[in-house]
Protein backbone atom coordinates (compact mmCIF):
# COMPACT_ATOMS: atom_id res chain seq x y z
CA UNK A 1 0.00 0.00 0.00
CA UNK A 2 1.31 3.44 -0.98
CA UNK A 3 0.69 5.30 2.28
CA UNK A 4 1.68 8.64 0.79
CA UNK A 5 -0.79 8.31 -2.06
CA UNK A 6 -3.56 7.00 0.21
CA UNK A 7 -3.07 9.86 2.67
CA UNK A 8 -3.20 12.41 -0.15
CA UNK A 9 -6.42 10.77 -1.36
CA UNK A 10 -7.98 11.13 2.10
CA UNK A 11 -6.98 14.82 2.30
CA UNK A 12 -8.38 15.37 -1.17
CA UNK A 13 -11.67 13.66 -0.34
CA UNK A 14 -12.20 15.67 2.85
CA UNK A 15 -10.83 19.04 1.74
CA UNK A 16 -11.59 18.91 -1.96
CA UNK A 17 -8.01 19.82 -2.83
CA UNK A 18 -8.26 18.91 -6.51
CA UNK A 19 -4.97 19.58 -8.29
CA UNK A 20 -3.30 20.61 -5.03
CA UNK A 21 -3.50 17.01 -3.80
CA UNK A 22 -1.25 15.79 -6.59
CA UNK A 23 1.42 18.38 -5.86
CA UNK A 24 1.79 17.57 -2.13
CA UNK A 25 5.36 16.84 -1.05
CA UNK A 26 6.81 16.03 2.36
CA UNK A 27 7.59 19.69 2.92
CA UNK A 28 4.14 20.99 1.95
CA UNK A 29 2.79 22.87 4.96
CA UNK A 30 -0.76 21.88 6.00
CA UNK A 31 -2.12 23.57 9.14
CA UNK A 32 -2.20 27.30 8.58
CA UNK A 33 -1.45 27.03 4.87
CA UNK A 34 -4.46 25.18 3.49
CA UNK A 35 -7.41 27.48 4.15
CA UNK A 36 -9.90 24.60 4.13
CA UNK A 37 -8.07 22.91 7.02
CA UNK A 38 -9.82 24.45 10.02
CA UNK A 39 -10.54 22.69 13.30
CA UNK A 40 -13.71 21.06 11.91
CA UNK A 41 -11.72 19.78 8.95
CA UNK A 42 -8.93 18.43 11.16
CA UNK A 43 -11.50 16.32 12.97
CA UNK A 44 -12.93 15.16 9.64
CA UNK A 45 -9.46 14.23 8.38
CA UNK A 46 -8.71 12.25 11.55
CA UNK A 47 -12.03 10.42 11.24
CA UNK A 48 -11.50 9.70 7.54
CA UNK A 49 -7.98 8.39 8.17
CA UNK A 50 -9.41 6.04 10.80
CA UNK A 51 -12.07 4.73 8.46
CA UNK A 52 -9.73 4.54 5.49
CA UNK A 53 -6.89 2.67 7.17
CA UNK A 54 -8.80 0.96 9.96
CA UNK A 55 -6.77 2.23 12.91
CA UNK A 56 -8.04 4.18 15.88
CA UNK A 57 -6.54 7.52 16.80
CA UNK A 58 -6.52 8.00 20.55
CA UNK A 59 -6.59 11.37 22.20
CA UNK A 60 -2.89 11.30 23.03
CA UNK A 61 -1.72 10.39 19.54
CA UNK A 62 -2.00 13.81 17.99
CA UNK A 63 -0.07 16.93 18.82
CA UNK A 64 0.69 20.21 17.14
CA UNK A 65 3.30 18.71 14.86
CA UNK A 66 1.07 16.04 13.31
CA UNK A 67 -0.64 18.38 10.90
CA UNK A 68 2.39 20.64 10.36
CA UNK A 69 3.38 19.25 6.97
CA UNK A 70 2.22 16.54 4.59
CA UNK A 71 5.38 14.63 5.52
CA UNK A 72 4.57 14.74 9.23
CA UNK A 73 1.03 13.50 8.55
CA UNK A 74 2.31 10.63 6.39
CA UNK A 75 4.77 9.80 9.18
CA UNK A 76 1.89 9.72 11.64
CA UNK A 77 -0.15 7.37 9.45
CA UNK A 78 2.88 5.09 8.95
CA UNK A 79 3.43 4.92 12.71
CA UNK A 80 -0.24 4.03 13.29
CA UNK A 81 -0.01 1.25 10.73
CA UNK A 82 3.06 -0.02 12.54
Amino acid sequence: MDIRKETAAVLDAVLNLGARAASLTDDSPLLGSIPELDSMAVVAVITSLEEHFGFEVSDDDIDGSTFQTFGSLVGFVSSKLG
Binding site: S39, H52, F55, E56, D59, D63
Partner: protein, 277 residues
Amino acid sequence: MVRIEPRYLDAPGGRLFCLDVMPAGPARGYVFHLPAFAEEMNKSRRMVSLAARALADAGWHVFIVDPLGSGDSEGDFGDASLASWVTDAAWCRQQLPAADLPWVWWGLRSGALLASQASQQAGGDALLLWQPVSAGKLFLTQFLRMRLATESLAGGGAADTKPLRAMLDAGESLEVGGYMLSPAMARELELAELKPAAGLPLCWLEISAREEPELLPASRQRVDALRAAGHDVQASAHNGPMFWQSLEISEVPALVDASVAALASLSLAEAVDGVVA
Protein backbone atom coordinates in the same frame (compact mmCIF):
# COMPACT_ATOMS: atom_id res chain seq x y z
CA MET B 1 -45.29 1.77 -10.92
CA VAL B 2 -43.90 1.89 -7.45
CA ARG B 3 -46.46 2.46 -4.69
CA ILE B 4 -45.51 4.50 -1.63
CA GLU B 5 -47.72 4.49 1.46
CA PRO B 6 -47.06 6.04 4.86
CA ARG B 7 -48.52 4.54 8.02
CA TYR B 8 -47.93 4.19 11.73
CA LEU B 9 -47.02 0.93 13.44
CA ASP B 10 -47.97 0.29 17.06
CA ALA B 11 -44.68 -1.24 18.09
CA PRO B 12 -44.11 -2.34 21.69
CA GLY B 13 -42.01 0.73 22.48
CA GLY B 14 -44.29 3.30 20.83
CA ARG B 15 -45.73 4.41 17.53
CA LEU B 16 -43.31 4.15 14.62
CA PHE B 17 -43.58 5.98 11.34
CA CYS B 18 -43.24 3.55 8.43
CA LEU B 19 -43.00 4.20 4.74
CA ASP B 20 -43.92 1.21 2.57
CA VAL B 21 -42.26 1.40 -0.82
CA MET B 22 -43.85 -1.38 -2.85
CA PRO B 23 -43.71 -2.91 -6.31
CA ALA B 24 -46.82 -2.86 -8.49
CA GLY B 25 -46.99 -6.64 -8.63
CA PRO B 26 -46.35 -9.31 -6.02
CA ALA B 27 -43.19 -8.76 -4.00
CA ARG B 28 -40.20 -11.06 -4.46
CA GLY B 29 -39.13 -10.32 -0.91
CA TYR B 30 -38.78 -7.71 1.81
CA VAL B 31 -36.03 -5.18 2.48
CA PHE B 32 -36.03 -3.51 5.90
CA HIS B 33 -33.94 -0.36 6.26
CA LEU B 34 -31.95 0.38 9.39
CA PRO B 35 -30.83 3.98 9.14
CA ALA B 36 -27.67 5.84 9.97
CA PHE B 37 -27.26 7.60 13.33
CA ALA B 38 -28.54 11.07 14.28
CA GLU B 39 -27.67 13.72 11.69
CA GLU B 40 -26.25 11.11 9.31
CA MET B 41 -29.77 9.70 9.04
CA ASN B 42 -31.15 13.06 7.93
CA LYS B 43 -28.38 13.64 5.41
CA SER B 44 -28.98 10.26 3.84
CA ARG B 45 -32.78 10.37 3.55
CA ARG B 46 -32.65 11.24 -0.12
CA MET B 47 -30.32 8.37 -1.03
CA VAL B 48 -32.37 5.93 1.04
CA SER B 49 -35.52 7.07 -0.71
CA LEU B 50 -33.93 6.78 -4.17
CA ALA B 51 -32.66 3.28 -3.46
CA ALA B 52 -35.99 2.20 -1.97
CA ARG B 53 -37.79 3.23 -5.15
CA ALA B 54 -35.25 1.45 -7.33
CA LEU B 55 -35.51 -1.71 -5.23
CA ALA B 56 -39.31 -1.59 -5.35
CA ASP B 57 -39.06 -1.20 -9.10
CA ALA B 58 -37.06 -4.43 -9.07
CA GLY B 59 -39.80 -6.18 -7.13
CA TRP B 60 -38.80 -5.66 -3.49
CA HIS B 61 -41.15 -4.39 -0.79
CA VAL B 62 -39.05 -1.90 1.17
CA PHE B 63 -39.82 -0.70 4.70
CA ILE B 64 -38.34 2.60 5.81
CA VAL B 65 -39.15 2.86 9.50
CA ASP B 66 -38.01 5.78 11.64
CA PRO B 67 -36.57 4.27 14.82
CA LEU B 68 -38.11 5.31 18.13
CA GLY B 69 -37.06 8.85 19.03
CA SER B 70 -36.14 9.82 15.48
CA GLY B 71 -37.89 11.24 12.44
CA ASP B 72 -41.69 11.08 12.68
CA SER B 73 -41.80 8.28 15.23
CA GLU B 74 -42.73 8.70 18.88
CA GLY B 75 -40.26 9.16 21.69
CA ASP B 76 -37.14 11.17 22.38
CA PHE B 77 -33.75 10.36 20.93
CA GLY B 78 -32.27 10.67 24.41
CA ASP B 79 -34.52 7.87 25.70
CA ALA B 80 -33.90 5.49 22.81
CA SER B 81 -31.52 2.56 22.85
CA LEU B 82 -29.89 0.37 20.24
CA ALA B 83 -31.51 -2.64 21.89
CA SER B 84 -35.00 -1.14 21.55
CA TRP B 85 -34.35 -0.27 17.90
CA VAL B 86 -33.31 -3.86 17.20
CA THR B 87 -36.30 -5.22 19.13
CA ASP B 88 -38.66 -2.99 17.15
CA ALA B 89 -37.08 -4.10 13.87
CA ALA B 90 -37.49 -7.74 14.89
CA TRP B 91 -41.11 -7.03 15.89
CA CYS B 92 -41.77 -5.51 12.43
CA ARG B 93 -40.60 -8.72 10.80
CA GLN B 94 -42.88 -10.80 13.02
CA GLN B 95 -45.94 -8.77 11.93
CA LEU B 96 -45.79 -10.09 8.40
CA PRO B 97 -47.93 -13.03 7.43
CA ALA B 98 -45.85 -13.86 4.35
CA ALA B 99 -42.74 -14.89 6.22
CA ASP B 100 -41.96 -17.28 3.40
CA LEU B 101 -40.57 -14.51 1.23
CA PRO B 102 -36.89 -13.61 1.59
CA TRP B 103 -36.06 -10.91 4.11
CA VAL B 104 -33.09 -8.56 3.71
CA TRP B 105 -31.82 -6.24 6.44
CA TRP B 106 -30.45 -3.07 4.82
CA GLY B 107 -28.13 -1.15 7.15
CA LEU B 108 -26.51 2.21 6.49
CA ARG B 109 -23.40 3.23 8.49
CA SER B 110 -24.11 2.38 12.16
CA GLY B 111 -27.40 0.90 10.91
CA ALA B 112 -25.22 -2.01 9.79
CA LEU B 113 -24.57 -2.77 13.47
CA LEU B 114 -28.34 -2.81 14.05
CA ALA B 115 -28.87 -4.95 10.95
CA SER B 116 -26.40 -7.54 12.14
CA GLN B 117 -28.02 -7.61 15.60
CA ALA B 118 -31.47 -7.87 14.04
CA SER B 119 -30.31 -10.85 11.98
CA GLN B 120 -29.14 -12.50 15.19
CA GLN B 121 -32.43 -11.81 16.91
CA ALA B 122 -35.00 -12.30 14.15
CA GLY B 123 -33.26 -14.23 11.39
CA GLY B 124 -33.38 -13.12 7.78
CA ASP B 125 -31.85 -14.15 4.49
CA ALA B 126 -29.22 -11.52 3.69
CA LEU B 127 -27.67 -8.23 4.74
CA LEU B 128 -27.29 -5.24 2.44
CA LEU B 129 -24.71 -2.95 4.02
CA TRP B 130 -23.91 0.58 2.92
CA GLN B 131 -20.62 1.99 4.22
CA PRO B 132 -20.96 -0.16 7.30
CA VAL B 133 -19.57 0.90 10.65
CA SER B 134 -17.90 -2.26 11.89
CA ALA B 135 -16.92 -1.12 15.38
CA GLY B 136 -19.25 0.92 17.53
CA LYS B 137 -16.41 2.03 19.80
CA LEU B 138 -14.64 3.97 17.06
CA PHE B 139 -17.96 5.34 15.84
CA LEU B 140 -18.71 6.68 19.34
CA THR B 141 -15.32 8.39 19.49
CA GLN B 142 -15.98 9.99 16.13
CA PHE B 143 -19.46 11.10 17.21
CA LEU B 144 -18.09 12.68 20.38
CA ARG B 145 -15.38 14.44 18.42
CA MET B 146 -18.03 16.40 16.55
CA ARG B 147 -18.84 18.14 19.79
CA LEU B 148 -15.20 19.10 20.11
CA ALA B 149 -14.81 20.16 16.53
CA THR B 150 -16.30 23.55 17.19
CA GLU B 151 -13.71 24.15 19.88
CA SER B 152 -10.47 25.37 18.48
CA LEU B 153 -7.78 22.85 17.76
CA ALA B 154 -5.34 25.67 17.21
CA GLY B 155 -2.13 25.06 19.07
CA GLY B 156 -2.45 21.44 18.12
CA GLY B 157 -4.73 20.36 20.93
CA ALA B 158 -5.94 16.84 20.27
CA ALA B 159 -9.61 16.07 19.89
CA ASP B 160 -9.71 14.85 23.46
CA THR B 161 -12.88 12.86 24.07
CA LYS B 162 -11.82 11.67 27.54
CA PRO B 163 -13.65 14.39 29.51
CA LEU B 164 -16.81 13.64 27.52
CA ARG B 165 -16.53 9.93 28.23
CA ALA B 166 -16.02 10.72 31.90
CA MET B 167 -19.27 12.71 31.90
CA LEU B 168 -21.11 9.80 30.25
CA ASP B 169 -19.59 7.36 32.73
CA ALA B 170 -20.88 9.57 35.53
CA GLY B 171 -24.39 9.14 34.15
CA GLU B 172 -24.77 12.46 32.35
CA SER B 173 -26.38 12.80 28.94
CA LEU B 174 -24.46 14.79 26.34
CA GLU B 175 -25.77 16.94 23.58
CA VAL B 176 -23.90 16.34 20.34
CA GLY B 177 -24.91 18.22 17.24
CA GLY B 178 -28.45 18.72 18.56
CA TYR B 179 -28.93 15.10 19.67
CA MET B 180 -29.03 13.95 23.29
CA LEU B 181 -26.72 11.01 23.72
CA SER B 182 -27.67 9.04 26.82
CA PRO B 183 -25.04 7.20 28.89
CA ALA B 184 -26.88 3.96 28.12
CA MET B 185 -26.78 4.57 24.36
CA ALA B 186 -23.07 5.45 24.57
CA ARG B 187 -22.38 2.17 26.37
CA GLU B 188 -24.32 0.22 23.77
CA LEU B 189 -22.39 1.88 20.96
CA GLU B 190 -19.12 1.22 22.72
CA LEU B 191 -19.83 -2.52 22.71
CA ALA B 192 -21.56 -2.91 19.34
CA GLU B 193 -19.79 -4.97 16.72
CA LEU B 194 -20.67 -6.11 13.24
CA LYS B 195 -21.55 -9.76 13.83
CA PRO B 196 -24.16 -11.03 11.39
CA ALA B 197 -26.05 -14.26 12.05
CA ALA B 198 -23.96 -17.26 11.07
CA GLY B 199 -23.81 -18.06 7.38
CA LEU B 200 -25.81 -15.05 6.25
CA PRO B 201 -24.79 -13.73 2.80
CA LEU B 202 -23.70 -10.08 2.78
CA CYS B 203 -23.66 -7.36 0.15
CA TRP B 204 -21.04 -4.83 1.27
CA LEU B 205 -21.20 -1.61 -0.73
CA GLU B 206 -19.22 1.53 -0.12
CA ILE B 207 -18.34 4.91 -1.53
CA SER B 208 -14.95 5.80 -2.86
CA ALA B 209 -13.62 9.22 -3.77
CA ARG B 210 -11.37 7.67 -6.42
CA GLU B 211 -12.09 7.70 -10.10
CA GLU B 212 -11.34 4.00 -10.10
CA PRO B 213 -13.22 3.09 -6.94
CA GLU B 214 -11.86 0.44 -4.64
CA LEU B 215 -12.66 -0.77 -1.13
CA LEU B 216 -10.94 1.00 1.74
CA PRO B 217 -7.93 -0.94 3.03
CA ALA B 218 -9.75 -1.31 6.34
CA SER B 219 -12.85 -2.71 4.63
CA ARG B 220 -10.81 -5.26 2.67
CA GLN B 221 -9.52 -6.68 5.96
CA ARG B 222 -13.00 -6.73 7.43
CA VAL B 223 -14.49 -8.42 4.37
CA ASP B 224 -11.72 -11.04 4.42
CA ALA B 225 -12.49 -11.73 8.07
CA LEU B 226 -16.20 -12.14 7.35
CA ARG B 227 -15.43 -14.52 4.49
CA ALA B 228 -13.12 -16.49 6.75
CA ALA B 229 -16.02 -16.70 9.22
CA GLY B 230 -18.11 -18.41 6.55
CA HIS B 231 -20.10 -15.53 5.06
CA ASP B 232 -20.59 -15.23 1.34
CA VAL B 233 -19.66 -11.55 0.81
CA GLN B 234 -20.15 -9.53 -2.36
CA ALA B 235 -18.16 -6.33 -1.88
CA SER B 236 -17.70 -3.36 -4.17
CA ALA B 237 -16.95 0.37 -4.08
CA HIS B 238 -18.61 3.10 -6.11
CA ASN B 239 -17.52 6.58 -6.97
CA GLY B 240 -19.37 9.44 -5.31
CA PRO B 241 -19.55 11.84 -2.37
CA MET B 242 -19.97 10.69 1.25
CA PHE B 243 -23.65 11.59 1.17
CA TRP B 244 -24.31 10.82 4.87
CA GLN B 245 -22.02 13.62 5.96
CA SER B 246 -21.67 16.03 3.04
CA LEU B 247 -22.82 19.59 3.61
CA GLU B 248 -25.15 19.49 0.64
CA ILE B 249 -27.60 16.67 0.11
CA SER B 250 -25.97 14.53 -2.55
CA GLU B 251 -26.74 11.45 -4.61
CA VAL B 252 -24.73 8.44 -5.69
CA PRO B 253 -26.75 6.72 -8.45
CA ALA B 254 -24.05 4.06 -8.84
CA LEU B 255 -24.70 2.89 -5.29
CA VAL B 256 -28.42 2.55 -5.99
CA ASP B 257 -27.75 0.51 -9.15
CA ALA B 258 -25.23 -1.67 -7.33
CA SER B 259 -27.76 -2.37 -4.56
CA VAL B 260 -30.39 -3.52 -7.02
CA ALA B 261 -27.83 -5.69 -8.83
CA ALA B 262 -26.48 -7.14 -5.58
CA LEU B 263 -29.90 -8.23 -4.35
CA ALA B 264 -30.81 -9.58 -7.78
CA SER B 265 -27.75 -11.80 -7.74
CA LEU B 266 -28.48 -13.33 -4.34
CA SER B 267 -29.21 -16.99 -4.80
CA LEU B 268 -32.26 -16.64 -2.56
CA ALA B 269 -33.81 -14.29 -5.11
CA GLU B 270 -33.56 -16.96 -7.80
CA ALA B 271 -35.36 -19.49 -5.66
CA VAL B 272 -38.23 -17.07 -5.12
CA ASP B 273 -38.61 -16.09 -8.75
CA GLY B 274 -40.11 -19.50 -9.34
CA VAL B 275 -42.68 -18.97 -6.60
CA VAL B 276 -43.72 -15.51 -7.71
CA ALA B 277 -43.89 -16.37 -11.39
